[in-house]
């Protein structure tokens, strides 16, 4: 009986593994690009333009299709991951839009009180809880977007541009203000997180010229960037951020970081961790850094043929020999991609390497996001 039980257990385990493998084989990365404008005169700063909005790619950025409203200032988006791409939220100039049919139809969830929504974050453990960062301050809904509450207590200046819900620690939310990163405490009050600069040997508060990026890399590790080429890392779930400014010289202003969370394994210093691969982009172009050991970061060429890089994404393309694919979104020139392994061959030097449909070609891309889709 024991033997049979063991056989059965082994069989079940085998079937489970086989099933997991089958699932793994039938999944892919879906990438979304949000465009605040098509690059025509008068097509931003309050106005909309045809060709702006949400774009989706299911082949790591090789081809794209437009979803929903074709003239909306789309800053960012999020998806309910458990819905497998069905439920999408779009952060736009006119508020938050939701689709429950993979982006075919959309409903405006917010009213006149909410505008210039720069980012949206769905609590994946409780998808009816949604946070948004707007140019006029953050808001939260706890009923799937039916009602919204303003969350401005603790903020000195209302402008907020990014909001990230901790994927591991419950009720842990970080918010990017203009010159501060905030942490939500007591359910509704924002407190500036501590920032520390030890680069000179002395502890001091780093000078931050507009925060531009915030990402959670792993359970405890976060990384942020500011426009003055400053990187700040946290190893305690974002409670203290330590500054490091050695990486991103010549990308000024620095607008985005794309990080490889899977390959986080190196420790730069005792206070800041650097992901194994980092893509840093900004006004003058972008670089992709590969970190092969604790102290040896590569020093790649600045790819300056693609300027005004505002959104970065690093994707591990398992269908192509575990190659890393860089996708960068520009302000005014649409989206570019390249394979990191074959980087020398696929460097985008001009529009001949442009990917995407015609309407995406001259878009001002504000953000790029990726999701794992099971088929």
């Amino acid at each position: 009986v024991r033997f049979e039980s063991l056989r059965l257990s082994v069989l079940l385990l085998f079937l489970l593994l086989a099933n997991m493998q089958a699932v793994a084989q039938h999944s892919h990365t879906r990438v979304f690009a949000t465009a605040i404008a098509n690059d025509s005169a008068g097509a931003f700063m309050g106005a909309s333009s045809n060709g702006s909005g949400l774009y989706q790619s299911d082949d790591t950025g090789s081809t794209w299709r437009h979803l929903g409203w074709n003239n909306i200032k789309a800053y960012s988006m999020d998806a309910v991951r458990s819905s497998n791409g069905r439920i999408l939220f779009l952060a736009t100039g006119l508020g938050v839009l939701r689709s429950t049919d993979y982006g075919e139809n959309w409903k405006v969830l917010t009213d006149w009180r909410i505008s210039e929504v720069m980012d949206v974050a769905v609590n994946q453990k409780n998808p009816s809880e949604i946070y948004i960062a707007t140019a006029h301050g953050p808001w939260r809904s706890r009923d799937g977007g039916v009602t919204w509450s303003e969350l401005v207590r603790g903020l000195e200046v209302p402008f907020t541009s990014r909001i990230v819900i901790d994927s591991v620690v419950a009720n842990h939310v970080l918010l990017v203000g203009d010159r501060e990163i905030y942490m939500l405490k007591q359910d509704s009050i924002w407190y500036p997180v501590e920032t520390n600069d030890k680069s000179s040997g002395w502890e001091s508060t780093p000078v931050v010229d507009h925060f531009s990026s915030l990402s959670q890399i792993s359970a405890n590790h976060w990384i942020a960037a500011a426009e003055n080429s400053l990187t700040l890392g946290s190893i305690d779930s974002g409670r203290i951020f330590y500054a490091d400014r050695i990486l991103w010289d010549s990308i000024n202003p620095l607008w985005c970081l794309g990080v490889s969370s899977e390959y986080f394994e190196s420790e730069k210093t005792s206070t800041i961790h650097i992901p194994r691969r980092v893509l840093a982009g900004g006004l003058s172009g972008y670089r992709t850094y590969a970190n092969t050991s604790n102290d040896a970061m590569s020093q790649p060429e600045l790819i300056s043929s693609v300027k005004r890089v505002h959104a970065c994404l690093l994707i591990l393309d398992q269908s192509n020999g575990a190659d890393y694919v860089s996708i960068v979104g520009t302000l005014g020139d649409g989206v570019f991609r390249r394979s990191e392994v074959q980087a020398t061959k696929l460097l985008p030097k001009d529009r001949s390497n442009y990917v995407g449909d015609q309407s995406l070609q001259r878009c001002q891309i504000w953000s790029l996001k990726s999701f794992h889709i099971m088929e």
Partner: protein, 585 residues
């Protein structure tokens, strides 16, 4: 008996204005006859009049095939549908319905955008009151749309009636407030909303009337176009000014058709306020600055406008509150298109305006009001607002500018840091003015503030103007105007106006030469020829408080800040607009 008379007077019907049936017909005829591209208001005029109908439907085809223009399309479409609904062909009604299902107009980000967007949604959700969320581009039901739109309009009316407008007194955008209000006042179903919108329309007309001078929209402007900045009668609002305040319209704009098709008539008291310039008066109005998002702790700056209105000229300006910790001395009401002060002459000639500005061109100005990347906005702003980066522009405010006014005297003070892109101040002088004397004795090394060069004395019709630039400058002839350009960034323009009936040009010039500013520590006094001096403290310019407590204060209009009640009086005429209780009398 006296009480009885007053009681009787209160219930007299308000005298009808000039928007007689004849004027309306004349305006509609002019609009129909004037060649124009596809425009909802023009199509409406043609369909209502039964003139050029087939062409009108062709134009409507164009407007419906590829809807374009976001909220501008929305209010025009709503206006057409509502003002022609008894004659509009059913197939076009159906096509319009489809547009509101599939076209996804954008809401925009300004006060006029929001009024057009929510005003249109409210009206059209009343046309189709019971539709489900699949029938509207927003994915909401008719009821949801109506509730949100009404909520916004109520909120907006409350704010403007109590604390002032944000995109105030714009020779261009006033047009885009008046037209939606005309439509809401005419077609809103909800009785209270309809009444409040009628009152709001009157409020906007009062706002305009107080600064109306022979067709000119005078005073400081939150937003003005490049052309209207140097030619005050060229703005779109002139059309409504003429239509509501005068007996004929020479500046024709399409949306006048919606007003001419409506039943609204401007109360006589507002027409009197616009035209009675028999004696000079001061006018105070409070407004709000555009909502700031970065680099400012004040969400909406408090603004107080000053006008000194006479039958020959209007000197007008605005003061803006600030709470700054750095060396910036001023603040902005609106980005890019502000006109902080001006002297407008009543004469018929074009370019009848005098003003100064610092041509500010700065990512910080854009970042304060727009959420996009500041450096990118600075790079691309030329494509959106072509004149903004131009050092020779004639429109725009500056954070390095403070303006003080006391009736007919004004001081525009500038302290422009080395870091500014441009460090000069330009003064626009119309060629239509005659330069009577120009004391250009300024030495190259003269420095603001006490070592003053001399006065320029101008005459425009019967108005005498003394202009003193408090630093060395160059004067250039530019055809329609002279440009005075200062050679330093720390300077001031000192303006004093009188009418020739008050004193001769010689006497005026002699009196001017006796005037000298006095500086004691940080406190500065600029005397006037009438004894009413301008005082300010250089140490308090960065952190500038406004203590005015009246939303309106003049011999024609008064309202306490926050009260929501506007009182009007002009001779024997009286009127009150009580927005709190949605009543007027």
């Amino acid at each position: 008996m006296k009480r009885l008379v007053i009681f009787f007077l209160l219930f007299l019907p308000i005298a009808s204005g000039a928007q007689t049936s004849a004027l309306k017909q004349q305006v509609l005829k002019q609009i129909i006859q004037k060649p124009s591209g596809p425009n909802f208001a023009v199509v409406s005029a043609k369909l209502r009049a039964g003139k050029d109908v087939e062409n009108a439907y062709k134009q409507l085809d164009t407007l419906l095939v590829r809807p374009y223009g976001d909220m501008f399309w929305m209010y025009g479409c709503a206006g057409l549908y509502l003002s022609t609904q008894d004659v509009l062909r059913p197939e076009y009604k159906a096509r319009i319905r489809e547009c509101w299902k599939h076209f996804t107009p954008y809401r925009g980000d300004t006060e006029n955008h929001f009024l057009m967007y929510y005003g249109s949604l409210m009206l059209m959700s009343e046309v189709w009151p019971d539709l489900g969320e699949q029938e509207w581009f927003t994915g909401q039901t008719s009821k949801e749309i109506h509730n949100q739109a009404a909520d916004y309009l109520d909120h907006w009316i409350d704010e403007v009636a109590r604390y002032g407008q944000i995109e105030f007194d714009s020779p261009r955008y006033q047009y885009y407030f008046i037209t939606p209000l005309v439509l809401l006042a005419e077609f809103a179903h909800d009785a209270r909303m309809k009444k409040r919108c009628q009152m709001m329309l009157e409020y906007f007309l009062v706002d305009h009337a107080l600064e109306y001078l022979n067709g000119n929209y005078c005073g400081a402007h939150s937003r003005v176009s490049d052309q209207a900045a140097i030619d005050p009668r060229s703005g779109e609002a002139t059309a409504y000014g003429e239509y509501f305040f005068s007996d004929q319209v020479t500046h024709l704009e399409p949306d006048l058709a919606f007003a001419a098709l409506s039943s609204f008539v401007c109360p006589e008291i507002i027409r009197t306020i616009a035209n009675d310039r028999s004696k000079p008066f001061t006018n105070i109005k409070m407004k709000r600055g555009r909502t700031t998002i970065r680099d400012s702790k004040i969400r909406n700056a408090t603004i107080v406008k000053h006008d000194y209105m006479t039958q020959d000229y209007c000197l007008g300006s605005m003061e803006i509150s600030s709470e700054l910790s750095d060396s910036v001395i001023g603040a902005l009401a609106q980005p890019i298109q502000q006109q902080t002060w001006s002297l407008v002459f009543a004469g018929e000639k074009k370019h009848n305006i005098l003003f100064s500005l610092h041509p500010n061109f700065d990512a910080r100005e854009l970042a304060e009001f727009f959420p996009e990347e500041p450096s990118f906005m600075l790079e691309r702003i030329g494509a959106v607002k072509a004149g903004y980066p131009n050092e020779n522009k004639w429109v725009g405010g500056s954070p390095y500018e403070r303006v003080f006014q006391n009736e007919n005297e004004l001081l525009a003070y500038y302290d422009i840091p080395e870091s500014a892109k441009y460090r000069h101040v330009d003064l626009y002088i119309p060629k239509a003015a005659t330069i009577l004397s120009r004391d250009q004795t300024s030495a190259e090394n003269d420095i603001f503030i006490l070592s003053a060069p001399g006065w320029i004395v101008l005459k425009y019709d019967s108005t005498l103007v003394g202009v003193r630039i408090m630093s060395p400058y160059d004067l250039t002839d530019e055809g329609d105007n002279y440009r005075i350009r200062t050679k330093t960034g720390n300077t001031a323009c000192w303006i004093i106006c009188v009418n020739q009936s008050e004193m001769t040009a010689d006497d005026f010039a002699k009196k001017l030469l006796h005037l000298e500013p006095v500086k004691r520590g940080s406190k500065v006094t600029f005397p006037s020829i009438t004894g009413k001096s301008i005082h300010f403290d250089l140490a308090q310019l960065s952190n500038y408080k406004i203590t005015e407590t009246h939303l309106f204060a003049s011999r024609f209009a008064s309202a306490k800040l926050g009260s929501g009640i506007l009182w009007l009086r002009a001779g024997k005429l009286h009127r009150a607009l009580d927005f709190i209780h949605a009543k007027s009398w």
